[in-house]
């Protein structure tokens, strides 16, 4: 990415105004993927002076500033305690510690990257995004939205609930992007299943979730039916794996994840 000028903004209002005054202006998060883009940016809007790298914990929620690094999240006691550490587990498998010191949670979300390992884990919890102008919206609504984002992500809220979680990243080598990633959670008797790297962006496997959440008992037969439903999501082929292989992985790991969270004590 070619950046003609970099503006280290002093307020969120300034960032929002710059973002909306020229379509060639973009917000710079951690910056890890800037080199992957060949576009020219008129003004890179740098949020790093806004003190948005924080994790605040209340009895009800974790409030995470959008410039918080993945490493901060990975090592935070409150995050590690949430859903048996599902989010920190997902982060710990992303490249090395150095990159995780650079990549921000906000950039990981705003990019809607298909390969993202954090998105399935965030989807399998109760996560909302707080934008400067638009206010708070559920993560799943944001991921399903289309078009340019004309707002500045301020924080990410994760509702603290008693629950258990499972995260699996299927990959070919230690540093590779996921061939498929999946997060499964159980909280207050309800199951959530999120599948990413399809290779498109992570989504909830709603039919599979319905199968387990409406069942009288979550026995192995119910789980097998739910796992089969997971294959009805849209999968595609790329050099990492074929569409059919991804569907098989989704079925297998949905089943394993559901069994693990079913049998795990809260």
């Amino acid at each position: 990415m070619k950046i003609n000028q970099l503006k280290q903004v002093e307020t969120l209002d300034e960032a929002y105004r710059l973002l909306n005054e020229d379509r060639r202006n973009v917000v710079i998060a951690g910056g890890a993927w800037l080199k992957m883009s060949s576009r020219t940016v008129e003004t890179g809007i740098d949020l790093s002076n806004l003190s948005l790298d924080y994790i605040e914990e209340t009895p009800e929620a974790l409030r995470i500033g959008s410039m918080t690094t993945l490493r901060q999240l990975e090592t935070h006691a409150g995050v590690r305690a949430l859903y048996k550490g599902m989010l920190s587990t997902s982060i710990s498998q992303i490249m090395g510690v150095g990159l995780r010191n650079l990549v921000t949670i906000g950039g990981s979300i705003i990019g809607k990257y298909g390969f993202s390992d954090v998105l399935p884990a965030l989807l399998a919890m109760e996560t909302s995004l707080v934008f400067h102008s638009q206010g708070e919206i559920p993560l799943e609504d944001f991921l399903e939205s289309k078009g340019r984002i004309n707002d500045v992500l301020v924080s990410i809220n994760i509702r603290k609930k008693k629950g258990v979680g499972y995260f699996k990243k299927v990959k070919q080598t230690a540093l590779a992007f996921a061939t498929l990633n999946i997060a499964v959670s159980r909280s207050e008797g309800l199951y959530k299943i999120a599948i990413g790297s399809r290779p498109s962006v992570a989504t909830l496997a709603r039919e599979a979730m319905e199968e387990v959440n409406l069942a009288e008992s979550v026995d192995d037969e119910t789980i097998a039916r739910a796992a089969e439903h997971a294959t009805s999501l849209k999968f595609s082929s790329n050099p990492s794996a074929s569409e059919d292989y991804r569907a098989i992985l989704a079925r297998v790991y949905t089943g394993r994840g559901l069994k693990e969270v079913r049998d795990c004590e809260d």
Partner: protein, 150 residues
Amino acid sequence: MKISLTLNNRPKTFDVAPDEYLVDTLRRYGYTSVRRGCDTTSCGVCTLLVDDKPVPSCAFLSARADGARLTTVEGIPETASKLAEHFGERGADQCGFCNPGIALAVHSMEQSGMPADDATIDHYLVGNLCRCTGYQSQREAIKAYLGDKK
């Protein structure tokens, strides 16, 4: 634009472009122990400590380092020297290209007070690639180094 920072405990001022990365700035000013490898955050040879945290300098915008404390391998002479001895004893390096990045990562791991077991070393250093050694001898050398420091 001009940035002022501390590099290996010395104040420095550099002229940088808005889209310039630290690996390019430091090498341009002669700090060539910061190696250029994959240039896409995958290999770890460009590792640098920014405010004591290891980061891939190939993706760290130089403008963001204004006011920061940077450390290259020259800024950790004791770690670099002792680690080199252990690497030498165990045949843990061949071309040496990855060594500065690994030394900085090990130094950071040591400062974090993490246990010196295989799993922790593997987890902490997975982003520092070496195409010569196969990692076993490096792991043994790092364990020996961290063991010496106890």
